[in-house]
């Protein structure tokens, strides 16, 4: 079953409302969850007993997607203007199969699995989100990257007439929004390409038709509405590093021990946060996914490679 584009599958066919209610109740109890939704145990292992799924209206109406404006509500208000069909993805660089591909063809025959991940923004707030996605490894391998492919770079759509943030005179971002991963990070089982959310098509404001999700890194790494995949030998320069290299690095692993010049990263507000209960909790190394990913950074000084 493919979640993402046409044909439109009614939500009820993907995950019934009751499954969701149950899931919320059982969250953290791996046996029940795996039986109920076929969630990967690697994704499951990271969930904490008190991780509650963030309400859908918050996940879809509180977004950072500067292509549509810098307010958290701008993407929800403006992103409907983005055309996502047809959607072409350019694949280039160190791979055997390169060129322009229709999005549908890339994911043909692949099944989107549900993954419930914690999502940690560098601005010190977090959510718990039920994504539907395809392992990134599965997607990238079909392009047969060569031995020279040490990194993979992703780019977001540039279409100023549909994206008010891109046409704004007051933005200093050099579009397209660019992000990258080391190949071994990209091939980690936690890394997915998201095509759905809450058992439905991925909404535009969340990065339709597909976006990256690497849950142990700050949210800005998980680039949205991807139109370009490039395999490269050298570490790509990601957008935020390009804007402020002293504040944003390439790795951006969630790390409470490395403080950011704007925000202490020691703790986070789990949304929904309210006036009387900010729902603050300590931030976990690698956003709680250390078991799955810490080995990728063995021997690296994470204070230096932030």
């Amino acid at each position: 079953m493919l979640i993402g584009k046409s044909p439109k599958i009614p939500t009820s066919e993907i995950t019934s409302e009751t499954t969701y209610l149950n899931r919320r109740k059982f969250i953290g109890q791996s046996a029940a969850l795996i039986a109920g939704s076929g969630l990967l145990s690697s994704a499951q292992a990271g969930l904490q007993p008190d991780d509650e799924i963030t309400p859908e209206d918050i996940v879809t109406q509180f977004n950072n997607f500067y292509e549509f404006g810098t307010d958290k509500s701008d993407p929800f208000e403006n992103a409907h203007a983005m055309t996502t069909d047809p959607w072409t993805v350019n694949v280039s660089g160190e791979a055997k199969k390169t060129g322009d591909f229709a999005f549908e063809d890339i994911i043909k025959g692949m099944t989107a699995e549900e993954r419930i991940y914690r999502f940690r923004c560098v601005e010190a707030w977090s959510m718990v989100v039920p994504w539907m996605g395809i392992p990134l490894k599965k997607i990238l391998e079909q392009f047969e990257p060569t031995g020279n492919a040490k990194y993979v770079e992703f780019k977001t759509l540039v279409r100023p007439d549909e994206m008010p943030g891109q046409s704004s005179f007051f933005s200093s971002i050099d579009w397209p929004y660019t992000e990258g991963l080391r190949m071994d990070e990209a091939y980690n089982p936690l890394s997915i390409m998201v095509t759905g959310l809450f058992g439905k098509e991925l909404p535009n404001q969340n990065g339709a038709p597909w976006r990256l999700m690497v849950p142990w890194k700050y949210g800005f790494k998980s680039v949205k509405s991807i139109v370009s995949i490039r395999f490269v030998e050298k570490e790509p320069l990601n957008t935020w590093q390009q804007l402020q290299a002293s504040e944003y690095g390439f790795y951006a692993n969630v790390n409470p021990a490395v403080s950011h010049p704007r925000w202490s990263q020691a703790s986070e507000r789990r949304l929904p946060s309210t006036l009387f209960n900010t729902n603050r909790r300590p931030t976990l190394p690698f956003n709680g996914y250390a078991e799955e990913v810490a080995h990728l950074y063995k021997g690296m000084d994470l204070k230096k490679f932030f």
Partner: protein, 209 residues
């Protein structure tokens, strides 16, 4: 009601107070929504919602207060002078609430976190410096202090020429992208400075003639 005397001065002052107080009234309304149903009034992250709302109005009210004298001079409205103190106090009130939101929702009363922010985060250093400048002005804004300080009162209140740039720096340093409002604030500030420079030159010329 407040408007017992219908002198033009009090009407003007009252109107200004209504305008300056409106964003606060709106905030009270949002908070009442929030109390009735969490996340409805201030969004899913009130710490950010409140800080940005109050921060934006702090900046605007600061510039409004800084505009009172130039507007009085340009539009020949001498009565405006009597509203200057009130507008300054409004600006201070918004900054104070902004700081309060920061203390309660952002660092959550952690003195250690506040100190870390003050030392390590330059935008916070600038913000707090601006706040103390305004605090000194607010405390000494009474008739009694004005009398006691004499000539020094004017000198002390020149600190506004530091407070506004510090507030602007605070904003420039913390903003990541989307500089429309900041551009407007800077332009506004530069125009006000220009008017003052013009006044100084005029009075110097008058003195030498």
């Amino acid at each position: 009601m407040v408007m017992v005397k219908r002198r033009p001065n009090s009407t003007l002052k009252f109107t200004l107070a209504v305008f300056a107080g409106a964003p606060f009234a709106w905030l009270v309304y949002l908070i009442s929504l929030e109390i009735a149903q969490p996340t409805s009034g201030l969004g899913p992250d009130p710490a950010e919602g409140l800080l940005h709302y109050l921060g934006e109005w702090s900046m605007i009210m600061l510039l409004v207060a800084f505009s009172v004298t130039p507007v009085r001079r340009i539009f020949k409205q001498p009565l405006l002078a009597r509203s200057r103190r009130m507008m300054g106090l409004f600006a201070f009130a918004y900054v104070f609430l902004h700081l309060l939101a920061y203390i309660v929702l952002y660092v959550e009363l952690s003195m250690q976190q506040l100190l870390e922010d003050f030392v390590e985060r330059t935008y916070i250093t600038a913000g707090i410096a601006a706040f103390f400048g305004l605090l000194a002005m607010a405390i000494t804004s009474t008739k009694g202090w004005r009398r006691r300080l004499g000539q020094n009162w004017l000198r002390l209140h020149k600190v506004i020429y530091l407070v506004v740039p510090l507030a602007l720096l605070h904003l420039i340093w913390l903003r990541k992208d989307g500089f429309a409002d900041i551009t407007l604030y800077i332009l506004w500030f530069v125009i006000l400075l220009g008017e003052r420079a013009y006044q100084v030159r005029k009075s110097r010329q008058a003195a030498t003639v």
